[in-house]
Symmetry: C2
Subunit: 114 residues, 2 copies
C-alpha cells in the first residue's frame, strides 16, 4: 500500500506521531473545503478531537458522515478520498493496526462502522 499511504499521498493533512511494531498513530488536520486524494487505511480506531462532517468517496460511490467531537469509532480497512464539507477545521487521531490486525482493504466498505 506504500503508494497509497496517506502520509505519502496527503502529507499536508496526515502525519505520523507515533509508531512501533503494533500500531502507527496518525494525526489528521484540515480546513473546511479541503479534500484528500485517494489513500488506504488499515483497520484503525479513529478518535475525533473535533466534530467531523465529511464526504467520503470511492470510484463506486460516496457517503456523508457527521461525527461529534470526542468519539472513538472503528474504521475498517478501506480505500477512499474525502472532503471536509463542514464549517470547521477537522482534527482527528487514527490508531492504525499492523500485522494480521491491519485487515484487508474491502472496496465495499466506506467510512467508519457507525
Amino acid at each position: 500500500m506504500a503508494e497509497e499511504d496517506p502520509v505519502t499521498t496527503n502529507p499536508a493533512h496526515y502525519r505520523t506521531i507515533f509508531e512501533n511494531e503494533f500500531v502507527r498513530v496518525l494525526e489528521y488536520g484540515d480546513e473546511p473545503g479541503e479534500s484528500t486524494t485517494p489513500h488506504v487505511h488499515p483497520n484503525s480506531v479513529m478518535v475525533t478531537l473535533t466534530g467531523f462532517q465529511r464526504r467520503l468517496r470511492t470510484d463506486a460511490g460516496a457517503r456523508e458522515v457527521d461525527i461529534p467531537a470526542n468519539q472513538a469509532v472503528w474504521l475498517p480497512a478501506q480505500r477512499h478520498a474525502g472532503d471536509n464539507i463542514g464549517q470547521s477545521a477537522t482534527h482527528t487521531i487514527f490508531v492504525e493496526l499492523k500485522g494480521d490486525a491491519a485487515g484487508v482493504v474491502d472496496d465495499r466498505v466506506l467510512g467508519p462502522s457507525i
Copy 2:
C-alpha cells in the same frame, strides 16, 4: 487479568465503548481528587481529550505525569493505580490491543512512554 480489568475494578471511571477481535476501546473520566484502585492495562494507545495531571502508583513507587489535551501516547502493558492531582476533570480514550499485541505486564513500567 479479569480481576484487575479496570472496567471491573473501577466501573465509575472506565467503560467499554467499542470492542472487536483486535481492540477494546475504553473511555475514562474522573474529577479532581478522585482515584482509581490497582488495575491492569494491556499495551494501549491513550488519547487525551482533556489535559491530564496524574499521580500513578505501584507498590514499588509513584510517578507524576502531566499531558496536554489532544495527545496520543503509547501506554505499555502495566499495573497501576492513579490519582487526579490536577484542577480539572479528565477525559481520556484508551485503545487497548489484544492478542500478542497486548504485551505482558512489566512491573518496572509505570505510565506512558513520554
